[in-house]
Amino acid sequence: MHDIYNFVSGPLVWASFIIFFAGCLYRLISMAVLARKKDVFVYEYMSFKFGLRSILHWITPFGTVKWRKNPFFTIVTFTFHICIIFIPIFLSAHIILWKESWGVSWWYISDTAADVLTIVAIASCIFFLVRRIVLPEVKYLTSISDYVILAIVAAPFITGFWTYHQWPGFRIMGILHIIAGETMLAAIPFTRLIHMIFFPFTRGYMGSEFGAVRHAKDW
């Protein structure tokens, strides 16, 4: 157990973070190069003001027509994204591990709050899954990879919750949890999860083109 734990909580953590950062950087640069090659006007039209205006609308709950059309979906989407960013960064157990390895620590949420957010996150994943299966217009656009991504994202929450509550098999779950977290990080650059990095640019560009060129709103 010591060897497995030390491996997944040592070299594998390094590997996943390096893959995450290097991968994201690579995707950003290759996208930037591609954009210059295919459409020089992307850079011409990019406008800080119009880009930011659009981004701010889209990250505000109910700030766009699409968000207002689908209130329930909007609420779930926003809470889910808050959970997935908040929990890994501000969970006390994670911070304790940062402190052990690097001597740094920061503000954290209570374990009770973490439990509630985790349940919300898992429930959101179930909602996304059911939506994909039930709604014909969504099902039509769904491929296997969408289910895989959903599983990759849900796994750290389920295994982490399991370990924390020390349900049977919690030692193995703890190891699986760490691997699941690392898998998610490493998968970000190479799957649709890259929208986390691309969002400011894609949205910023849409906003710029709609704002500066078409003099229209894109929200």
Partner: protein, 128 residues
Amino acid sequence: MEKRTLIIYTLIILLGCIFAVMSGYSQEDVTTVEDSAFEKKMRPGVPFLHDQHNEQAELDECNTCHHVYEDGKLVEYDSSEGQECSECHTINKGDNPISLVNIYHLQCKGCHQEKKAGPIMCSECHPR
């Protein structure tokens, strides 16, 4: 009184005394680590059968854990047993307790990792 009865009585009383002393001892024995500096505890105290642990782990020197430092250097022949870790590794009331948590983890988990024996995962030291 017959000699045999006397011996038996004496033995019973003696055993009783030993038992009383022993149980008195084991009441004082450290069986959990529960530092008083943690105000709002996030987890239950950590089970730690002090003497049994140190025997099993073959820790003869008390100051392996109950250490004393002078000018930032470990003092070899001095020890600080009877003092809680938080008496030196202080945290202020209402402060973030992570620094105190950390010295426990560095010492306990650190040695377990070094020796590849003993618990290293949260759940192993912090049973619910």
